[in-house]
């Protein structure tokens, strides 16, 4: 066996705190090592060429690269040695950057640790076996979860690229948060005017199968071959028959239903179409408010519906779809205002959230675009905007910036002046965060052209006095306390993870951070991929985002799906479990523990019962290997021998 060892300097990243030359020298002393060297940037083209050349020149058959994390460059170097004619599983990496060089300053100790890491990799690589991938067919359909602007963009791009798309949206209509906005920054475009056509495209595209008011029940399978169970929630209206005429909504006597679309700014009817431009434009009954459900009698909608679409007996329905890739675009949620007790929570009707104000500004909103105070329906003259209402506040668990609030506050201040010319807006801010094309200019316009008064400081308390709301805050630039008598207060409540984000991540087997936002594969270089191949991210489910970024990610995710599907076959990872039928005693404990039902019972010609692994289903976790009492089933590339050789490399007494 002739092992080649390559120690990377990574510029000064590794060489700064690890004596790389000494690591190479020590490696040379290990039996089996035929060649060891250190190199400035092993991942660079000349660095990779050096590996290829050394394989030929020194007749190497196993390679160890001591560099960054294998999560970063394992694939890079696997391809390198493959090009030089070696099986790609004859590579091991020692992570001497993230796990050593970057976490300690003592060069002596780091170097010792790096030598150990390299010894372990050498011990393991000498146990490695060549593995060969098999290929399997891809199902070229894609599932998009979430019908906000990011999900719609991904769905449309995929569909335009010729893929069959299954789009699942949990609310009754697509459009997401953007469909609720009045105008968009920094152009003051009408939001629904630019989104509406996209929504129509989604509804009419022959390649897009839209499941509105539906949720993901279960996800099974793996990249290329997923089985998805979708729960179509009962709407109590047969959408095949519903024409969206709206007669039912007009006549419905239950007038006090919570209006989810308008964030509760005003009540709606128990049977409703969420908004005039809704796609699909179909009615739905809210059984929490419908008299038929609460009292067992009413039936007005059933009587009035011209097509007889109402069906009070409707039940949820589960449908199954098969796809090959998944785009997750489940968006974000907003902080519950009730937590902000210093601002009265939701005790004061004239303290509302930014999205509620957006609905008041909107011409198709509950007030037809007339700004009025929820308490007495009068027109407010003094409006105070409070940015960072929850954001950048460790004490409530939101230490991050919500990103888009500074911009929408500036927009709302501008629109307020347009709606009510004799009004005065005040904006309390911590910092104005407006990095984006035309963004900073926009916040300046709000101040300079529209006269919004920006006060740098936080608001400590909001309380009522007579008909006014008193907003008390600090003006840190003047070093004084200020109190403003406002008619209406708008809180820029923090953007948080969407409701149910964690449960969704668990169904998808993708990671999420402390706040519930999904974790991308690499924060810089793989922004829409996840660590689960075949699952991609788009939009604010990954972190708060404004519209352009969400649309960009939607398209990016679609591009990733299209490039994945540009092949007909995918290679399976051969690092899966394998049964040694001589050693197997047929106890089938592995069958019971396998999380993927990838193990079945098999009978050999001799009549002996043994376990058998279904190669395409095995995901390579290795639970079976640690279960097997006789070591008969071994996860390839992580066999008992391979892992114990690593232990032995560092635990010699």
């Amino acid at each position: 066996m002739r092992v080649g060892v390559f120690i990377c300097h990574c510029g000064s990243n590794i060489a700064g705190t690890v004596d790389v030359a000494r690591v190479a020298a020590e490696a040379r002393k290990i039996p089996g090592v035929a060649f060891a060297t250190n190199y400035m940037y092993t991942c660079s083209e000349p660095g990779q060429d050096e590996i290829k050349a050394a394989i030929k020149r020194e007749n190497l058959d196993r390679i160890v690269v001591a560099a960054c994390s294998p999560r970063m460059h394992e694939n890079t170097f696997r391809k390198t040695i493959q090009k030089a004619g070696l099986n790609k599983y004859f590579l091991e990496m020692a992570n001497i950057r993230e796990h050593i060089a970057w976490i300690g300053n003592d060069k002596e100790l780091n170097t010792e640790k790096a030598i150990d890491a390299v010894s372990m990799a050498i011990a393991k690589v000498m146990q490695n076996k060549p593995l060969h991938a098999t290929s399997f067919k891809i199902n070229k359909r894609v599932l998009v979860i979430g019908g906000g602007v990011a999900g719609m963009q991904a769905a449309l791009d995929c569909a335009d690229g010729g893929l069959d798309v299954v789009l699942v949206e949990k609310s009754p209509a697509v459009g997401g948060i953007m469909a609720r906005l009045d105008k968009t920054f920094p152009t003051i475009d009408c939001s629904i005017c630019i989104l509406g056509p996209k929504m129509v495209d989604v509804g009419q595209h022959e390649k897009i199968k839209l499941f509105a008011y539906s949720e993901i029940e279960e996800i099974k399978g793996y990249i290329g071959n997923y089985q998805i169970k979708i729960r179509k929630k009962a709407t109590y209206v047969d959408w095949e028959k519903c024409t969206g005429c709206g007669l039912c909504m007009e006549k419905c006597p239950s007038k006090n239903s919570y209006d989810y679309f308008n964030f509760g700014v005003a009540p709606t009817k128990a049977i409703n179409i969420p908004f005039p431009q809704a796609i699909p434009k179909k009615a739905k009954i809210d059984p929490n408010y419908c008299r038929q459900f609460l009292k067992g009698k009413c039936g007005v909608c059933a009587k009035i519906c011209p097509t007889g679409a109402i069906n009070y007996e409707m039940k949820d329905e589960i449908v199954t779809e098969e796809v090959g890739a998944i785009v997750v675009a489940t968006g974000y949620g907003l902080l519950d205002q009730n937590i902000l007790t210093e601002y009265g929570g939701t005790r004061y009707p004239d303290v509302i959230s930014g999205i509620q104000y957006e609905r008041l500004l909107n011409a198709s909103g509950p007030t037809s675009g007339h700004i009025e105070r929820p308490s007495d329906h009068t027109e407010p003259k003094t409006i105070v905007f409070v940015s960072c209402a929850g954001s950048r506040d460790k004490s409530i668990g939101v230490p991050y910036c919500s990103g888009f609030c500074c911009m929408y506050i500036a927009k709302q201040a501008i629109l307020t002046k347009d709606h009510i010319p004799d009004s005065q807006s005040y904006v309390f801010y911590m910092d104005i965060r407006s990095p984006g094309k035309g963004y900073d200019e926009f916040t300046r316009r709000a101040q300079e052209e529209y006269g919004a008064q920006y006060i740098r400081g936080r608001v400590s308390k909001i309380y009522p006095k007579g008909k006014k709301m008193i907003v008390r805050g600090a003006d840190t630039l003047l070093g004084t306390q200020v109190e403003i008598e406002a008619d209406l207060v708008v809180l820029a409540t923090a953007a948080i993870a969407a409701e149910g984000a964690a449960e969704m991540a668990e169904k998808l087997h993708i990671s999420y951070d402390t706040f519930g936002f999904y974790v991308e594969s690499h924060p810089k270089l793989r922004p829409v991929e996840t660590n689960t191949s075949g699952v991609f991210l788009a939009g604010a489910c990954q972190g708060p985002k404004d519209i352009p970024s969400s649309v960009g990610q939607g398209s990016a995710a679609a591009a990733k799906v299209l490039s994945l599907f540009s092949r007909d076959m995918l290679e399976s990872d051969p690092a899966i479990a394998q049964v040694n039928t001589n050693a197997c005693v047929g106890c089938l404990k592995c069958l019971k523990t396998c999380p993927f039902q990838a193990i079945v019972e098999d009978t050999l010609r001799s009549g002996k019962k043994v376990a058998k692994v279904i190669e395409t289903v095995c995901a390579g976790c290795g639970v079976c290997t640690s279960t097997c009492p006789c070591g008969a089933i071994q996860l390839q590339h992580f066999t008992d021998n391979q892992l114990l050789s690593e232990v032995s490399a560092i635990c010699q007494m």
Partner: protein, 143 residues
């Protein structure tokens, strides 16, 4: 840099590829300084960790063993960490019958985004093992 001050001890860590190995990477990227005693072995899943690996390490020279996987319910393979939790909890209770202080063994859950938590886990466990001192009378490493 061992902030414990005394001579380094030998600590072996088994980390699952998807969460904890990533968490250790995240800690590195964030330059969260840690004691240097730990040597990391990457496994696909904490469910792949055979309790005998831990025993083998402790019997042949390790002074402490750390196993870390994905948080319960967040396993890349759905339920591998549940198997790990049962096996390792059983192991923890058995160690004293082998004459090994159970404090030399620790299992925990660290996600790929929890760099700071990883720093804490490594620092705390290293300190704990140093308080117990070496498990074996080690010969000086032969050069």
């Amino acid at each position: 840099m061992s902030d414990v001050g005394t001579k380094e001890l030998r600590i072996v860590g088994f980390l699952c590829n998807w969460c904890s190995y990533g968490g250790a990477d995240t800690a590195g990227v964030g330059r969260f300084k840690q004691p240097t005693d730990l040597r990391i072995i990457r496994v696909p899943c904490s469910g792949r960790v055979d309790p005998l690996f831990v025993v083998r390490a402790l019997l042949t020279g390790a002074d402490g063993v750390l196993v870390s996987g994905c948080h319960p319910r967040d396993c890349h393979y759905s339920e591998g960490n549940y198997y790990a939790r049962r096996r390792l909890e059983m192991l923890r209770r058995l160690l004293q019958f082998m004459g090994i202080d159970e404090k030399r063994f620790h299992y925990t859950w660290v996600s790929a985004s929890e760099g700071q938590k990883w720093q804490q886990v490594v620092t705390d466990f290293t300190k704990q093992v140093h308080e117990l001192g070496p498990l074996h009378d080690k010969k000086e490493k032969a050069d």
